[in-house]
Symmetry: C2
Subunit: 199 residues, 2 copies
DNA sequence: ATAAAATGCTAACAAATGTTAGCGTGAATT
DNA sequence: AATTCACGCTAACATTTGTTAGCATTTTAT
């Protein structure tokens, strides 16, 4: 009988999805049951279906919302004039880090659990991810041509960047957290200029 | 009736664990059923229990074997005399990359699925992972003190390194694979010296 | 050759899974 | 005040889950 309390500006569906994102992150999509989710929402499992149509739909919403978010941003960055390749890379990195700090649960889930999507969503997500990586690779290749970036294998650089950023997961769990901006600066610096001290 | 074919030098249990690692990687631990595993092994689900005692045990074996492997290596590196901090970091990185290339399934599973361990194994794994990261952080801090490494936040550097390496997963899936050694060189170079071309 | 051990099978189990049906109640709309 | 709609509940469903029991057969050791 106790209704789902929705936050101001949000539907009850949003509440469910937010709680689901948290559980999917903690236990994974497959290991999270609808009864589990219901309990955290404060309702019986069957009641969830007044707001969502299936467990799969929840994952879809999380994944595609996040993916669109990143895709929009990179298009914006790429379209901005007068930016060096390094600046573009920095902007992309900082956006990733900020997203990881602000929308931790959803970004994390979307990155780790998208494999549990089912077709046609699965194929769709796969090509979106491929396209996204390809765009970053292009920026890097542009930088290499212009002599700003050293001639390394661009796809390798992309996967290092993206996975490095996803490491913020560990930061989230860590007790002695350093501040978000410090973290951001450190990550960008290490990726752009490396660990070694230059003489 | 068809028996599990074991490879030379390996028990049937090893075969099961190898197949399990592959499935756990592809679908995740929770989404892989024992019947699923049995089918890939070529046997009925119940027959698996002549070789293993539970699904959980399979995950335990994969995770702890891998963890011990990494722990042994870092102890060895750390004990080697006449090595600069940068050289130690490079050795650790190269070992990670090599492990990821040679024992892909198990390393990947152990990194992504250890959360599904149950206590006491879960706690045990958590502290092993913490200890491992701490050791790397110490190497970095040593390097900072000696002026080889720029003064960045060591835990941040560790998480970047480790997650960057786990990005080889994408490389594995990629069609146009570059050679293993080239990948290794690229990764080490990017992490140690960064993306930016030095003037 | 015979006993013991290893390994496979079928059948079955209890529990957990996602989901639907149908009903009741309070809030919103007419 | 009457009606509709939103949203919660309980009960139930068909599958799927990990696992065990019991038996048959093959392999190994005596």
């Amino acid at each position: 009988m106790a209704k789902i309390k929705r936050n101001r500006n949000g539907t009850r569906k949003d509440v469910i999805i937010a709680k689901a994102a948290k559980l999917f992150r903690e236990k994974g999509f497959s290991a999270t049951s609808m009864r589990d989710l219901a309990e955290h929402v404060g309702v019986e499992a069957a009641s969830l279906y007044n707001h969502i149509s299936s467990k799969a739909e929840i994952l879809q919403e999380i994944c595609f919302k996040t993916a669109n978010n990143f895709m929009s941003h990179i298009e914006e960055v790429d379209a901005t004039p007068n930016k060096t390749a390094i600046e573009k890379i920095q902007a992309i990195l900082r956006f990733h880090i900020k997203q990881m700090l602000d929308n931790y649960e959803e970004v994390y889930v979307s990155d780790r659990e998208w494999k549990h999507l089912t077709d046609p969503y699965l194929s769709n997500m796969q090509s979106q991810r491929r396209a996204y990586r390809q765009r970053i690779a292009s920026v890097i290749e542009e930088g290499i041509r212009k002599g700003e970036i050293k001639p390394i294998d661009a796809p390798t650089a992309v996967l290092i960047m993206l996975h490095a950023v996803s490491g913020i997961e560990s930061w989230h769990r860590s007790k002695k957290k350093i501040a978000g901006e410090v973290l951001e600066d450190n990550m960008v610096q290490i990726l752009v200029d490396g660990l070694r001290k230059q003489a």
